[in-house]
Every structure is written in C-alpha cells, then in structure tokens.
C-alpha cells in the first residue's frame, strides 16, 4: 500500500518547484543563487480594469471620438497623461486616472488596465536556481535539514532559531518572549495564548515554529507578519520525538520558514529548511514508499495522534473498537507501548 510521506530529515537535497498561481513573468535565471525572500517570478493576480466613456466625458458623439483619441491599444500611460482631447473652447481633455495600460480604444470608449502591485513568488528556500519553468517559476535546490509541517500562515522568512521549548509539550505564553528575541525564529510547543502571538508580532520575530495551536487563534495567526508553521496540528499536541530532536539540535542555526498552505494536489507544504553543507553526494528524499516492517511512522489521528513509532509487524484486516475493519500494522510507539493501528491512519517518516 502506498504510504503518505512526511520528512523530518537531518540532511537531504531539497528541490522545490516554485510556481505562480497564474502565468506571469519569470525573473530568475538558471544558476542564480537566491535567498528565501528573493522573487523568482511575478504575475498580476488582481488586474483592475476601468472603462472610460470618452464620448460622454468630452461631450461628443461616439463616432467623433476617434479623431480626439491620443492613445491606442497597448500604450502605457502615466497618471495624468492625456487619453483624449483637447476638445471644445475649454480644451476639455480626458486624462489617465493612474498608471495604466490601454487595452482597447474605440467606439467612444477606452478600456484601461491599472498597474497593480504584482503577486511576487518568493524562492521559499535559499539555494540555486537549477531549472526555469516558463511562464510560471523555477526549481530551486539546496542541501540541509528538512522538517515538514501540517499548517502554515502563508508567509516566508528566515532567521536564527532560538529554542524556547525545553520539552516537546512546552506551552508558549507571552512571558516567554522578550526583546532579545527580536529578529529571530522561535521554536516553542503548543500555543493557546493570543497575547503571545501578538507580542511576537510587535517585537517583531522573523518566524515561529509551534507543535500546535488553538484553532481559535487561526484568524490571528493569519494576520501576524511573521511566518508561523505548525508541526503537529491544532489543539494541544506536543512535538513528536523525531521532529523535536531534529529541531532542537539545530538551535542557533539559520532556518528558513516557508509557511505556505498544504495543497495535496501540488504537493506544496509548510516547510522548515535549515541550510547545511552536504557531506558528499546528497540525494533527493524518497517521496514514494510503502509500509513495511522497521519503517518509522507517525500516527495521523486519535488514538495516539502525533506519536511516532516503528512498524514491528504487518497485520491483515483487523477490527478496531469503532467496529470498523481495516488493514493494520503493529506499531511500537516511542513511549514503549505497542498498538495496532490502521495503515490508513499512518504516514511514513523519512
């Protein structure tokens, strides 16, 4: 059975195709070294069109406007540039209301496209641009530690990581934060405290890694200006032991947070990359795998949600307390307990 895979990898080759949501202009070039915040491509996701009724504005018939038009389709105009006119004894003119491009001109009307601030696609990870994707983006590659999360607030940034979580279940409260953390990325456990998120924004932090977050705080988490990544999910959940160990051993290292939302179709996931020199040939992590004995897994839902362990035997159809039957595996959890769980409720850890 094919298994979903999540990476908590101490060293690997991270290769990410970064693509625009809509076609646009690729700015990166092959071989370019980029930081996580460098823009690879941009596109206009919210074009703003405006019809101008030239005939009405000049006070003439649509048929007459042709001879007073000062622009044509394709022209780029600055704010105040004359679109049509002058006409009449008062030398009436129609001017561009803002910086724009003329899309259509004729029949007494002009359609303008405002020059809006484009959506900029950031690299998300530091590394080398190894391939361009025409009209959409580029592939960036780097080596380092890779830790994948389950939720992110959509932002990207990087900074030195400060570990506040002395244990996997350390709860983040506002009093944990002080001015010495300004500009850093903090690692804490579960957060149920709105004040802590706000204070982190005021300092400001460059990023926050949490094991879990109260669902009530999601609207606030989407407003803060630093990237926030959850490793386990919502509610009160400690870190699984694999992710926790990996994260704390990288204390005071520069980490990059790409907190993009998880999209199963594109494969985009919130991720933490800690750039590290590759010892020899590092390979791209395994993305396709199947369940089997001795493989390390994480439990996806209750009971034992978030816990990691090792498959010690594969079982056939097994009946669970819910009354449902499913293919299962016997797992030795990291806390020493042994449990039977459906394969459908497990993911492999690489």
């Amino acid at each position: 059975m094919l298994a979903p895979v999540t990476h908590f990898s101490p060293i690997t080759l991270v290769r990410r195709a970064r693509v625009l949501p809509h076609p646009g202009k690729v700015l990166a070039r092959t071989g370019q070294q980029v930081s996580a915040l460098d823009v690879l491509a941009e596109t206009n996701v919210n074009p703003e069109y405006q019809w101008l009724d030239i005939a009405h504005l000049l006070g003439i018939s649509p048929e007459k406007t042709e001879r007073y038009l000062q622009c044509q389709a394709g022209d780029q105009l600055a704010r105040g540039d004359v679109i049509a006119g002058p006409y009449g004894i008062s030398n009436r003119v129609v001017r561009a209301p803002k910086e724009c491009r003329v899309i259509l001109a004729g029949d007494g009307q002009v359609l303008l496209e405002g020059t809006a601030k484009p959506f900029q696609l950031k690299a998300g990870i530091p590394g080398d641009v190894v391939e361009l994707i025409p009209d959409f983006g580029a592939v960036v590659e780097t080596s380092g530690a890779l830790i994948q999360g389950v939720w992110g607030n959509g932002l990207v940034d990087y900074g030195l990581m400060a570990v506040l979580a002395k244990r996997p279940d350390h709860p983040l409260v506002a009093s944990d934060l002080d001015v010495s953390m300004r500009g850093s990325v903090i690692l804490s456990g579960s957060c149920q405290d709105a004040e802590a998120l706000q204070m982190a924004d005021e300092l400001p932090l460059r990023g926050m890694i949490l094991s879990s977050l109260s669902m009530d705080l999601v609207p606030l988490a989407l407003k803060v200006r630093y990237p926030l990544i959850l490793i386990e999910g919502f509610g009160v959940k400690p870190y699984n032991s694999v992710a926790y160990k990996l994260l704390v051993t990288n204390n005071r290292r520069e980490v990059t947070l790409n907190a993009e939302d998880w999209d199963p179709y594109t494969g985009a996931r919130p991720e933490i990359v800690i750039p590290l020199p590759a010892p020899g040939r590092t390979t791209v992590p395994v993305e396709i795998d199947t369940f089997g004995i001795d493989k390390v897994v994480r439990v996806l839902r209750v009971p034992h949600s978030g816990q990691t362990g090792t498959i010690i035997s594969m079982k056939g159809k097994t009946m669970f307390p819910s009354g449902l039957r499913a293919n299962a595996a016997e797992i030795r959890l990291d806390d020493g307990n042994t449990v039977d769980l459906p394969l459908a409720n497990l993911e492999l850890i690489h």
């Binding site: 059975m1 094919l2 979903p4 895979v5 809509h22 076609p23 996701v45 919210n46 074009p47 703003e48 069109y49 405006q50 019809w51 899309i103 259509l104 359609l111 496209e113 009209d135 389950v150 939720w151 109260s214 669902m215 009530d216 999601v218 999910g233 919502f234 509610g235 998880w262 199963p264 179709y265 594109t266 494969g267 993305e287 396709i288 996806l300 839902r301 209750v302 009971p303 949600s305 669970f320 307390p321 819910s322 009354g323 449902l324 039957r325 499913a326 769980l341 459906p342 459908a344 409720n345 993911e347």
Partner: protein, 585 residues
C-alpha cells in the same frame, strides 16, 4: 449468450479522490455479474500528480484477485478480450478526483435562466464562483474585474427563450468575450452556451478564436419550462474533457474508454438511478445518495426523469477544511452522541480534510464521523429537493416524497461496522417518510454500473439485482402529530408460511419486525391519529407486500422531522436504544 448481451466482460476504472477502483463485470448464466474489484490509492495528488500509477496498481490488484491478465507487456489494456481469456471486451471509466470546476454563470434573468443555469452547474463537481445577469446593478468594469479575477474554468451562458431575446443576450456575451480575451491564454475558460437555440451559431462565431465554445439545447426553452437533460449530458462531457486537460493521466483513460464511456462519477451514478426509475415504474421515485470524499451527490428520478445534485461542499475529504472553521458546527452538534469540545471537533475535521483516507479507530471518533455524514446528507438533500422532478414533487401533496428504493453508496457506508449503523445513519440523514426500502451498495460499484450501462442498460438492472446490493430493510416511517408514547400504527405481518407477527408501534420508537432476508410477506398497516404512511392521505392504511432485508422490516416512528433530545446524555441513551432495536451494538 442471448443476443441482447453483446459484450462478455466490462472493466470500469473509477478514480475517486482517495481510492482508485478497477471493477470487473462479466456475463454468467446470461446475466451480468459483478466479479471482482481491485483497489489502490489514487495518485492524482503529489508526489505522483498523475492518476496513471493508481490505475495501474488497481489493475494489478484486480489481476491478482481474479488471476486474469488485463494488461499486456507494453502496459496497454488488452481490449477486446483475446481467445486465451486475457483482456476485456469493453472499458469505461469514471472520475471524481480533482478540485471542483470553477464555474461562472451568466444569465439574462437572475431568477429564470440564471436559476436554471445554477441548477445545471450543480449536476457536476463544480464551485459556482460568480454569477451575473441583466438585472445585476454592478458597473460594467466591476463585473469585468470580478470575472477576470475569479479565473473560472468554465463560463455557462444561459438566457433567452427559443425565438426570444437576442440583443441583450449578445450584449452579455460581449462582456464574456472580453473577459476571456483578458484572461491569459493558458488559463482561458471554456464557454458553454445553453440559451436561445437560434443564437447558437452566432455565439460560436462571436467567440471564435477567443474561447472554446460548447453548445447544448436551451435549458429554458420557454419561461415556465426547464429542460436540463441535454445540457447536463454535455456538461458531463465538458467536465471530462477539462479533467483530461488539467489532470495528468486522465487522457489515457479517456482514450481507452472513448467519448461515451468516460464520465464524471456523479453523472454515472445519476444514470444508474435514472435507469432504475425507468425499469421499476413503481409510481414512486428512486433516490440515490453517494457520499464521497469529493462531494455528496443526490440523485432523484421518476419514470426516467432525473434530477442530479452534486455538492462538493458536503464532501468528506478536503471540503471539510471549511467545516473546520466553524461551518455547520451547530448542525453537527445536533447529531453528536459524544461529549467533545469545539476544538476537538475542529481537529477531527482538519485532520480528515488533510487525510481523507483515515478511519475512526475509537467509538468516539466513529460517532463524530457519523454526525458529519448525517449533516452532509441532510444539507445536501435540503439543497437538492427543490430541483426534484416535478412529477415526483406533485406526488408529495402531504409533504411525503415517495421513493422506492433509496440507494446508498460510498465507502462511509460500505465499511460501516454493521447494517444497523448504516440504516440509522440513512434514516437520520434522509428522514424518509411513508414506505420505502433502503439498499446499500456494498462494494461501492453503483457509479461504475452507470458508466458500463452505456454499453448495455441491462447491466444496470441485472447487477443491481445481485448480492452486491444489500437490502437493509423495508422502512415504514409515519408522519403524525402525536405525543411520544402514543400508539400510531398497528401492524400485522403475515409471511409466506402464514406465520403472523403483530405489533403496536408507539410514537418516538424505532423498531424492527423480523423477516428473513429476501422473504416476502404481507404487511397490513392501520394508522392511528391520522398518521400518514404515504397511502394516499393521512390516516389511510392498507396492505403492502414487503421483502425482508438484513434488518427485516424497520418501523421508524421517531417523528418527521426527527427531533433529537437536546441533552447529550439523553441522546446517547436514545441512540444506544435505537441501535439495539436494529440488532446492532
């Protein structure tokens, strides 16, 4: 083999958003039979982003189960079947995987053609992102901005009775054409024209070179007549084509299946329900519900006239992400039989949205899942009901919609711990009234039957009659204004051996009359307090022939609409009793 059966074996691939199934039907004793099914994870999502691998694995599984070789050394499907027994004679495919289509609707009149177009759009996996009409008071540039920014996959244009309005419709089309022109070519939407038939050529010509135009019969040929069938079939094909363009690996399926044999899963399911309604001719409708990870689909048909509603927002996979933000919490809470915090419910919904293949292990999680299924069923039915065929609605003078049978499909039902849980979930979610039969599609093959039925409609009826479809039981559900505990029905069940079972049913109860599976019996029903059991008028009783299901005959006198105890402990007690009454635990 009889002449009417012209293919001996039919293979259907069903690509769901969680599971890909390879289903084999074959002719045995002059009848089509469901032979076996192979399954695999769907690989539409990363890291594959190509459904091909899931299809191959499902076929491998089917080959392993049946011992029959279906794929040759070049990984090509062997079709037609060879004399050595390898391959299959026919192939069909259905697909529900993938994000819903983003659809914009442009109609002349908001509540006439606009309304019909919206209903049309609901017959496939779609997300209605934008509508506008002549009566829209937004400025032209505001409408243009919204249409361009919403980047639809498809724009449905409706309006104008046949021979009616043309000028205003062509003006609307100018805005559509302009929006298409302004959207980058790589993302340009298709346009589907279902308005005034006389303008079809003009519409195609005006958008030539700007957008791909599809045309179907006017869905509103006169002001008071809505006709969706032709457009619905065309939309199913457009949907299939857009899946080919946007999802890797689908093109191979379509090449194998051909134009006619490739359908969205919900359309195939609708086809089964329609065939059944034509075949059964019971003066009642057939109701089908398909609860899947991508969507919940409701199909209601009578005498071959189908109303299909596909509701991605009530799918039990990624759509639950929106539920996790608090949507429908009150509705779910009404069905819950376990005490959980709002955060626990959100966590459940979030995890299920990200990992739709996961299953409940504890009884508590199972209770949450079933509360969500009941909510999805009820909300989807609420949306679908106004669009049910007029003939069916005209039969519901007393508010009872007469269905025979109610067919349920979806892995949430087929993997249920037992028939009692499945039946109770359906009774709660659908709240059927009168007399009906609950039928469970045990292997989740109904949509595949619909797809395969393109080669031979007989297959639908013959396979439906097989053991793959489990009769859960005949249901008697009176509608009555009575106090809990008051007798509402007197029943006398006489089986083929002349054995009699009598029962007095009290308001508020859920009971089961024992009748062996498949055995027929005569059931006399005498209502009290003017209880309506769908025999023509409130208080009217009579005799009906009933067939025993796995739960015999179910008497659901809990009331319509069903009002559950507000206190959770009382609700827990009630459910414990009801499950017990149906022989479950």
């Amino acid at each position: 083999m009889t002449a009417i059966i012209d293919a001996e074996s039919i293979l259907v691939i069903d690509v769901g958003s969680v599971t890909t199934r390879a289903i084999l039907f074959e002719v045995a004793d002059d009848r089509y039979r469901f032979i076996a099914m192979g399954t695999a994870n769907t690989t539409a999502i990363a890291p594959f982003k190509n459904i091909g691998e899931g299809v191959r694995l499902a076929l491998d599984d089917l080959q392993r189960v049946t011992g029959r070789v279906l794929i040759d050394s070049r990984q090509q499907l062997i079709i037609p079947a060879a004399s050595d027994g390898t391959g299959v004679d026919r192939f069909a495919a259905t697909i529900s995987a993938g994000a819903p289509l983003k659809v914009a609707v442009v109609g002349l009149l908001e509540d006439v053609s606009g309304e019909s177009a919206r209903r049309l759009v609901q017959t496939t996996y779609s997300d209605l992102i934008y509508t506008f009409s002549l009566t829209d008071h937004r400025k032209a540039d505001a409408r243009l901005n919204m249409l361009v920014r919403s980047r639809p996959d498809l724009i449905v244009v409706a309006g104008g009775t046949d021979g009616g309005a043309s000028k205003s419709l062509m003006a609307l089309l100018e805005s559509v054409g302009l929006a298409c022109y302004l959207i980058p070519e790589l993302e340009r939407p298709d346009v589907f024209f279902v308005g005034n038939s006389e303008l079809a050529d003009q519409v195609s010509a005006s958008l030539e070179g700007i957008a791909a135009v599809h045309v179907a019969a006017n869905i509103r040929p006169t002001l008071d007549l809505e006709r969706l069938e032709g457009a619905q079939a065309a939309l199913a094909k457009i949907m299939g084509q857009l899946r080919v363009e946007k999802m890797s690996g689908v093109d191979d399926l379509k090449i194998w299946a051909g134009d006619e044999g490739f359908l969205p899963t919900a359309a195939a399911f609708g086809r089964v329900v329609r065939f059944l309604s034509s075949f059964l001719r019971d003066k009642k409708g057939v109701l089908g519900v398909d609860v899947g990870a991508s969507a919940t689909a409701i199909a209601a048909a009578i005498d071959g006239e189908l109303a299909l509603g596909v509701y991605p927002q009530y799918g039990l996979g990624s759509p639950l992400r929106k539920w996790a933000d608090g949507w429908l919490f009150d509705e779910i809470s009404n069905w819950l039989t376990v005490e959980i915090t709002e955060d626990q419910l959100r966590e459940y919904l979030f995890i299920k949205s990200k990992h739709p293949a996961t299953i409940p292990v504890t009884p508590e999680e199972f209770a949450i899942e079933m509360a969500v299924v009941r909510t999805a069923l009820q909300e989807a039915l609420k949306k679908a009901r106004p669009g049910f065929p007029a003939q069916l609605l005209s039969l519901s003078a007393s508010g009872l919609l007469p269905f025979e049978p109610i067919l349920a499909t979806g892995s949430v039902f087929s993997r249920s711990p037992g028939p009692a849980h499945t039946a109770l979930t359906l009774l709660d979610g659908l709240q059927p009234a009168g007399i009906t039969t609950l039928v469970l599609d045990q292997n989740h093959i109904a949509p595949s039957i619909g797809a395969a039925a393109v080669f031979n409609p007989l297959l639908a009826v013959q396979v439906m009659d097989s053991s793959s479809f489990l009769n859960l039981g005949t249901v008697i559900a009176p509608v009555v204004n009575a106090r809990p505990g008051q007798p509402v029905l007197k029943l006398n069940l006489v089986n083929d051996n002349g054995q009699e079972t009598q029962a007095i049913v009290k308001q508020g109860s859920l009971e089961m009359l024992s009748l062996p599976y498949g055995q027929k019996a005569r059931l006399s029903i005498q209502p009290f307090h003017r209880a309506d059991i769908g025999m023509g008028a409130p208080g009217r009783g009579g005799s009906v022939t009933v067939k025993g299901g796995v739960l015999g005959v179910i008497i659901d006198a809990r009331g319509r609409p069903l009002r559950l105890p507000k206190e959770i402990h009382k609700r827990q007690e009630a459910y414990k009793k009801w499950i017990w009454s149906l022989g479950g635990h």
